[in-house]
Amino acid sequence: MGVGIQVENLNAWYGSTHTLQDINLHIPANHATALIGPSGCGKSTFVRCLNRMHETNPIARATGVIKMGDLDIYKDASPVEIRRRVGMVFQRPNPFPTMSIYDNVASGLKLNGFRNRRILDETVERSLKQAALWEEVKDDLKKKSGASLSGGQQQRMCIARALAVDPEVLLMDEPASALDPVSTSKIEDLIFQLKSQYTIVIVTHNMQQAARVAENTGFFLNGKMVEFDSTHKIFTNPSDKRTEDYITGRFG
């Protein structure tokens, strides 16, 4: 089950570039939240702050408070502990090419020393079913390499890999931008199914996608969050002129 995320005065830098400026928002539990905005507006950086991936870059740093449930992720826990609770799906599918499909999905558990075969089997099956990939791969789970799948299948496998650890939050950084429309709609269906059980944050360039899958949408521009509201309000009656210009295609 997911937890809500409270972000207070988040600032982030890459070197001397101030990529995120005073971000404040509340991401509700067990809902999908979309982040939209032009390239370089800071939405990916924002998502990477939520699982402390931002700080893996030596020139990057961040200040502010992010709370997941009661947990202050910058104070109460190590990055490793945070990332065990927060799953992430990247823009390009990144299967582990030396592992079978089964090992790819089970890798999050195996690296943590989880050895119970029966629960591992169940978890792999459950995650692949959640990612709508089970029927396509169940016959060669341990025979085929994760990299032998098609791009769309790889991305769904990566989603299954993130779901296998039963995360409280699922971050998706443009998960469908490298995929064809069929795979994209499968991924969107998936988000739609999953959002009752997980807190999902999805970065997207595709505004229809945001409108289709998310209850809430945030609009980022030049490192600031211009507007955050229900998706319906953002797309029909935005309160900020810049949001309106962006969603109507007047810039960006």
């Binding site: 065990r84 609770r85 558990l109 296998a164």
Partner: protein
């Protein structure tokens, strides 16, 4: 999921019951939440790795200090001039390293001159042009060359390369390139050129197999990008492959050069072992490594021994200087340019 004995407890209409279900974390989540932060493990891992890295410094420092300590006698007797003196007379106790430094550098660069184009050719052929079924056998053969012990190379050189040089290759070079002055004088078959050739054969496998690995790592999108601009195969290899792997190739060459500078046995068997600086490559020479191997067991007297150890120090310094120059060259070539493919 629901077993029959659980079913009555979970009544969906009852909000309290639903809440009980959601509070209970799954076995997977419970297991993960129970795990520690791993801070201790990560910290000790970093410390152990640090220790491994420090051992390199320790070893280098240790070797360097022993070399200096043991060559003190000769260092005091000849000072810095040791590296520029040409004398090598154990009987009267007069020592200098220059002929050996010259011999080492000359044979090694000769070896690079021959081996680098050959190795690049092998690597380009293997990665870009070779039909698939041939790739395995050729790669295997080049790597086999690296596994042959150097004394075996020496034997082969004595029985095959020396006569070949004396009777065929030498006279041919004298006739065609004799005017350059590099191929003059009596040709006994043993000498710097023979040593250079055997060194080239010995460093060929290491350079070509490393270069091949580096070129294989260039992503195909780079090749396609260049081909799509209308490039020929050679242009594609030059811009799309070689240019992207140039730093790695220089690294491979440096590893080969390192081996050539230090190679002892095979060189000792064919170089002639005569400490003299001569422009002609037919002339016998001597290298830093060979003189240590040849004379260490018969070095009588403390100064002689000390001088030989200082020869070791010279070899150490030559290797450092050559590597530094190579680094500088790489830096000069790639300055400002993006270094590698993302």
């Amino acid at each position: 999921m629901q077993t029959s004995n659980l079913a009555p407890a979970v009544f969906v209409a009852d909000p309290h019951a639903v809440q009980i279900r959601t509070v209970e974390p799954s076995p997977v989540r419970a297991f993960l939440n129970a795990r520690g932060s791993g801070k201790l493990a990560d910290g000790s891992f970093a410390a152990v790795m640090m220790l491994c890295a420090c051992s390199i410094f320790a070893i280098v420092l240790f070797i360097f200090s022993i070399l200096i300590l043991r060559s003190k006698l000769s260092l005091v007797a000849f000072g810095w001039k040791f590296f520029t003196r040409q004398a090598w007379d154990p009987v009267s106790g007069d020592f200098g390293a220059l002929p050996f430094i010259y011999g080492t550098l000359a044979t090694s660069f000769l070896a690079l001159l021959i081996a680098v184009p050959l190795a690049l050719g092998v690597a380009v052929f293997l990665t870009e042009l070779c039909p698939k079924p041939l790739r395995g056998p050729i790669s295997f053969l080049t790597e086999l060359l690296a596994a042959i012990p150097s004394v075996v190379y020496g034997l082969w050189a004595v029985f095959v390369l020396v006569p070949l040089m004396r009777d065929v290759l030498g006279p041919f070079l004298y006739k065609t390139l004799g005017w350059t002055g590099f191929f003059e004088g009596t040709n006994f078959g043993v000498g710097m050129l023979t040593a250079g050739i055997i060194l080239a054969i010995m460093i060929l496998p290491i350079i070509s197999s490393l270069t091949r690995d580096i070129m294989t790592a260039v992503p195909n999108s780079q090749r396609e990008g260049v081909l799509a601009l209308g490039a020929t195969r050679w242009e594609m290899i030059r811009i799309g492959v070689l240019r992207n792997s140039r730093i790695g190739i220089v690294g491979a060459i440096m590893l080969g050069l390192g081996r050539a500078l230090g190679e002892t046995m095979a060189v000792t068997m064919v170089i002639g072992n005569h400490p003299e600086i001569n422009k002609s490559l037919f002339a016998p020479g001597y290298t830093l490594a060979s003189v240590i191997a040849n004379e260490f067991s018969e070095a009588t007297g403390d100064l002689y021994l000390s001088a030989l150890i200082e020869i070791g120090l010279a070899l150490f310094l030559v290797t450092i200087v050559v590597n530094a120059i190579a680094r500088l060259m790489v830096w000069a070539v790639t300055r400002g340019a993006p270094a590698r493919v993302a």
